[in-house]
Amino acid sequence: MHPAPSVIIFTVLSGIGFGLLGFLGLGFPSVTGWAAFAFFAIAYLLAVGGLLASTLHLGNPQRALRAFTQWRTSWLSREGWFAVATLLIMAVYGAGLVFFETRLMALGWIGAVLSLATIYATSMIYGQLKTVPRWNHWTTSLLFLGYSLTGGALLSGNTTMATYLLAALGVVQFVYWTLGDKRFADRGHSQGTATGLGGLGDVRMLEPPHTGTNYLLKEMVYRIGRKHAQKLRVIGILLMSVVPFALLVTLDAGHLIGAVVVLLHLAGAFVTRWLFFAEAEHVVGLYYGK
């Protein structure tokens, strides 16, 4: 799949933003006044910034409000609703903390649950697609929730929690890759089933429908990423999990180390999220012999 920068930025940043909102909603850290303002400002910048980035890849963003109408069937629509509900409820909760030094506990809990629901809905936009076997698995949701919670724990300064989550996320990412590598073949998709001619013999693409490229090939048969995938996997997992984990375990976490760890994790998350798209194989490639 084509790794569109807008979608990578959206999923990574808004994921971390909603993760941070989740921790703030639960009262970790329990901050008020200006400190609370700073935390909420960061969370909203990430969450809203990510959501805005996601509209950049739309062909007609001026109609984006229509995306709220189909929540009965569409995960993309549900994500919109969960995101707006989270942002509204956490705004009231945040205002209580910042301006009135009051923690509206129930509202915070609801906001935290909605934050998780938003991330889950984002993950299901990809996880629902049977056409992309690598994504079409519950580990996709686990992965997205893992990145969100880890980023949220790091940004909210829950160092102990972040340390555990960094280790767990490394494992989840590794498992996701290992299971995902086999799934396309396991599902039994081949040029034989794609053309229905598999029963007659070996099917091979002889001539594509056109000499140039097209939208389908650009969008769904992106193959450049697969060349350096193994190297990028190692770089990604080192940056987003192993090195931050080692730093947090060996050094006392001050603001400087904290900042370094957050930046490393973020860089690693961008690498692995790029791979999440670039490595995903769409079944339509079978019609193009790929």
Partner: protein, 249 residues
């Protein structure tokens, strides 16, 4: 509404005969021609006369080689357009309701005025039947020529999809699959019509007919063979001398 209808009164669709298709791409051209000038956004091309032309098409013809274990390889031309699936995954993922399947005849359509161009429906389609128009930013797909098949301004003979109307080899057929007595239903039953990627559970309405089995060349007695044998394998006399002389040159 992007919920799928539980049942459609008609199931309009195509039968594509892989045995008869000669791969002339006339259906591709007819489709592009009709659908670029009818309803909605035209089917744009990018860099059409330049070095790397590309464009929006609703129907494309692929060509595959099938190599049976004990027979020579054969060429199969493979036209592919929207299959108007009963369980269309492209419809349910749409966040805006632009994508829908009609309850009356089962045609899957896009309301371009409501399409935000997110591209998720194209991701959800296994068959590559949806293409985002790069000029308009809206999703384009086969409409089964909905503006032809019910169009009373056209002569009756033209009230079928442009690809079917134009096919010179009769490889494309249009009809109602809900009616078991229809020509297309009978054709599918007779020739063993099949679904593409049935493992994905999309329940396509369009069916494909397999290539008919080819005759195999068999070793058999050729009555002319003895007469065509060389008469003399080691010729003597003048011919023998000529043969040797020519070889020596």
């Amino acid at each position: 509404m992007t919920s799928l209808p539980t049942e459609t009164a008609k199931k309009l669709g195509l039968v594509i005969d892989l045995d008869t298709c000669v791969g002339c791409h006339a259906c591709v051209v007819a489709c592009k021609g009709w659908n670029t000038q009818g309803y909605g956004a035209p089917l744009s091309d990018q860099d059409p006369y330049g070095e790397s032309p590309s464009g929006t098409f609703l129907n494309r013809v692929h060509s595959f080689e099938v190599k049976p274990a004990e027979a020579p390889a054969q060429l199969v031309h493979f036209p592919k357009s929207c299959l108007h699936c009963d369980d269309a995954p492209c419809v349910t993922v749409c966040p805006t309701g632009a994508s829908y399947k009609r309850a009356e005849d089962g045609i899957v359509l896009v309301n371009e005025d409501a399409c935000i161009g997110c591209g998720l429906c194209a991701w959800a389609c296994p068959y590559g039947a949806r293409e985002m128009d790069q000029a308009e930013g809206v999703m384009k797909k086969c409409t089964l020529c909905v503006d032809r098949i019910y169009n009373e301004n056209l002569p009756e003979v033209d009230r079928e999809p442009a690809c079917v109307r134009t096919c010179p080899s009769g490889a494309r057929h249009f009809g109602d699959f809900a009616d078991e007595e229809s020509y297309v239903s009978k054709l599918v039953a007779e020739r063993g019509g099949f679904d593409l990627m049935p493992e994905l559970g999309t329940k396509p309405v369009n069916k494909y007919l397999p290539p008919r089995p080819k005759d195999q060349a068999v070793e058999e007695f050729d009555i002319l063979a003895p007469l065509l044998e060389p008469i003399a394998t080691d010729a003597g006399g003048f011919l023998g001398w000529l043969d040797k002389a020519l070889e020596r040159i």
